[in-house]
Assembly symmetry: C6
Homo-oligomer: 244 residues x 6
């Protein structure tokens, strides 16, 4: 079998730990602890896509306004406002009450900028809209299928915590092509950030957890290093953890 067509994420280290880069058109669930950098990495993915790899993008937000999204990105020096103005990026803030309307909104947005990259943030909010787990399950998988038909490499975020992981109801298990886990946990006297790949179809991937940091340039993953119990190496300490 020939290797898949891969995209370059623009997130240092991520391509390396996914065997060379995410397969194009994958649907990836990004699950992470609070403050682990999920949203930051998503913004980085879109910004780099538009500025470095000629891939336009769409940010579907279920909670933040465009202004808030632009401001969040600005902390890292990512000028989303210009990209929005020049039609390379589009942000949409949606209400989820009307699930069918959501699908149309997403399709239109993708078409409007001819997007190749897509982010939905946060995915966890889906579960709040359905009483029966069975309905949530079907709707979310239906959404996942729609996303994959769009011809984008789509990321959907999920917030987890050690005590009550909020599953996206079969999305991770069946429809998603990949699942990435971002940890930000207290270990003895510090918070330790790490990232691991739970699943990624169509490619080999690292089975380890890798240290990662948040710098003033966004997320940085150390693909060559295992997770230490002591302080991460000097290179990481230079740009101490920054963003949200």
């Amino acid at each position: 079998m020939t290797g898949p067509v891969r995209i370059r994420s623009g997130v240092p280290g991520l391509d390396e730990i996914t065997g060379g880069g995410l397969p194009a058109n994958s649907l990836v669930v990004i699950s992470g602890d609070p403050g682990s950098g999920k949203t930051t990495m998503c913004l980085q993915y879109l910004f780099m896509g538009a500025t470095q790899f000629n891939e336009n993008g769409v940010f579907i937000s279920l909670e933040e306004t465009e202004e808030e999204i632009v401001r969040a990105a600005s902390y890292y020096g990512w000028d989303l406002a210009s990209l929005i103005k020049s039609g390379r990026l589009k942000t949409i803030t949606v209400e989820l009450y009307d699930f069918d309307k959501l699908k149309n909104t997403i399709e239109d947005a993708v078409a409007s900028v001819n997007a190749k990259r897509l982010v939905i943030d946060p995915g966890v909010i889906f579960r709040l809209y359905f009483e029966r787990e069975l309905d949530a399950r079907k709707r979310i998988m239906s959404l996942g299928r729609m996303l994959k038909r769009l011809g984008c490499t789509a990321w959907i975020t999920n917030e987890i915590a050690l005590d009550a992981p909020m599953s996206l109801f079969g999305l991770e298990e069946y429809v998603a092509d990949g699942v990435v886990l971002m940890y930000h946990t207290k270990y003895q006297d510090r918070f330790v950030r790490s990232i691991g790949i739970l699943k990624m179809r169509g490619t080999t991937f690292s089975e380890k957890l890798h240290p990662m940091i948040l710098t003033e340039h966004g997320v940085h993953i150390f693909a060559d290093k295992d997770l230490f119990e002591q302080a991460p190496p000097a290179a990481a300490n230079a740009g101490k953890g920054r963003g949200g």
Copy 2:
């Protein structure tokens, strides 16, 4: 007592840890953590059955479309599309609302390709259809009995997680002939994959957990090795974990 008639699964190492191979016509529950490779191993089982051992098969999906199933298999080089075309495999996507209709659908599918292998994936979704545990229990056991009358060696998947195992309500304990557990758990700084046999009627089986990997050829179980706390041996590292 003479030994049972056994099938050859086609999954490297699985036959060895089940005392020489699964007894024919067994009903086996495949329980696994998210991303542990349950669905991959099921596809491998059907593909190998059809191409290597002249056993046609049926894949009953409760969540995925035929297209998705075919694509998932293609990542491993398993061309299910041809097998479906040539009548050696059949995939059915069913709604579970009508439980009786489900039984008929399965029976018809098995007959249509004279199947000897059967997969139902995911089994866990049964529990979402019944309010009273007693009803779920009876229906699922009734389904299990029907499966055993079909003359197939049937696998039914179940998703588990360390905190809330979702039992298939007596299916494992009474009707199922075997229960296989696939672990994919975080241990220190890596994810470790392992497989064990909880129960298998009619044959001896290994009481240990065995390391396993996902390669570009599917699931590979190390029947000769115990589970190490450190990195698995070189042979495993060559084809690093792939699929989903």
Copy 3:
């Protein structure tokens, strides 16, 4: 006080760890993890009783059909079909909806083969039939009393798991004369089987957990050995774990 009249279970090692054998007419609760061998041991008890010790028996099943029970026993070479034919064993599959009818059914079955041994499997299903815990408690204790009046040595199974033990509501504590625990738990890289006596009236018993195995001849308990953390001795390894 003179020693009690004891029965010989026919399960190797069980009589030794119960001070010489279960007191006749005891009501014993057999609690075990999934796949621990509860049902196997019950079938062994009945088969040995009928073929070795001239004690006929009744198997009351709340979930399995006679055919399934006979097949399950056949894996161990226990020909229940002949015993049923010759009136030495009787199996009954009952619905629990009508609790009073259950009692009559049991009494009739015991009388019909003049049974001295009785098994009810699984006992856990009782709790699904009652809304109020108080009702469940009273009904089950009433059933337990009825069983003791039958003049049989009766075993009733209960499924437990580490996180949510399903108690038989006072049955173990007050009415049952004995409680046997069968463990089948993951320990490091293997599954370990063990058995222990929590309670047994009228006799001394071992306060230890003993290793046990499932062989092609059924359950085998090592009365002389303590539970090791490493592999059980050579004698055990010869017939590696088999049944369900």
Copy 4:
């Protein structure tokens, strides 16, 4: 303050760990794991009281019949039947539906044999009779007060388990003069029995857990020994654990 008037329980070792014996007229809650020997120790208390210390007694059972109580005691050679016949002991089996009737029943029984010792077993069943915790609390404390006015030294049993201790709602904390804990827990490869005093008004008491065994003569507490992690001393092994 002068020392209290004490009773002699008749349970070897119990008087020693309660600073010389339970203060007369105490209300003591006996909390224990399943199979820990609560009921046995209560029967021992009553039997010894009637035969050794000229204190008649009443056994109030909320679950067992007189016949079952007598039989349970007979395993230890305690002939309760004779004591009942000669008016030295009385057993009553009560329904708890009518809580006020319960009180009258108890008062009458105590008067009828001029009892100085009283047992209520099991106390845990109280909580099943009340919807609101507040009502349960008031009723149980009211019962406790009534018991103390009777001029008996009263024991009331409570079943506990490590995961969900069933509290007797303030009884232990406020009304009860003493609380005794009986453990029967799995430790590595054996079951270990121990007993400890959580609280005892009016006297000093041991703050340690003491090993205890069940022999053919009932409960035996080792007041002079601390709890070992290894096997209890030879004296204990002679009469291996018996009862219920």
Copy 5:
């Protein structure tokens, strides 16, 4: 800032671990495990206040009668009956159904003996009176405010257990000036008693847990000692744990 006016509790060691004594007019929550000595310490506080420090007191009981309170204190040689007679102490047993009536009752009682010390025992019962957490929260804080206006140094008890701490709904966090924790936990083969100060406004306090014992003279705290894992020192062993 000048040091606060302090009271002398009369409980040996308590003043030392609260930086010299509780600030006068503080509202302190005394939280403790069952049998930890909360009520004993409260009685000691009132008795010493009336006999040693010329501070009259009021004991508001939500569960015990005056007779029971007096008896509980008598075990330690504290003659509350005389103090009640001479108008130095007052005990009130209240129903909580009418929360407003409770306030009036407390105010009247304090005025009647010109109390400077106040105890409410047990505080935990408040939560049973309100359906909505918001109402419980408001009422309890309102009660706390009323207590502080009375010009007393008030103690309110709370029962906690390791698995389900019953919080007094913001009382500890906002209205209470201090929170004292009394532990009575099983550690290996013994019960260990300790006390610690979680919070105390207006003064420094020890951040450690200190060993404590119950003697025939009440609670005794070892302010100079840290908590050992082995037996407490000889001085403690002399008067072995007594009370309730």
Copy 6:
């Protein structure tokens, strides 16, 4: 990207661990264990702002009265009464029933003293006002947005405990610019205080937990020290833990 405009908190050590000081106009969630010093640090922040840094402030209390707030601050020598009188600080106690009214109240208060600093305490009470999690989520985020439009650097407190962290529903994850965690946990024989930054947009921050103490001058954070397992250094011991 130029560095952000920063404020000086006035809490020793806090500016250092937030990379030089909180970015102006941030919304920060202060989450802490009971008794960890959240409210104390908030009062310190406002007092120092008004007296040292010429930034007026508003304290929005959802539970305490102005009198209680003033008194709580007085323990540290912070004279809020004068600041209120001179129009440099304002305290408001609000009912949350009318959420829209809350917003107006806050806006008016901020305008009335031209506040640059704002505290809402406790934020946790929001969750008690909404039945559906979705509503709570929207309202709280709407409040958060309003706070950020006010041109203040706003702190909102949240009470957490190890077993059931009460999340402010997406506020921390999306709207809040920063999250600070204050621990006050039992470790062996003492209570240990520590503080860490989970998230802070627009600046680097320390990824470690730092020891902190409560002294008679308020909260003091040791920015230069890691968290020790043994006693904190001498400087900390000098002013032993004080406040609430």
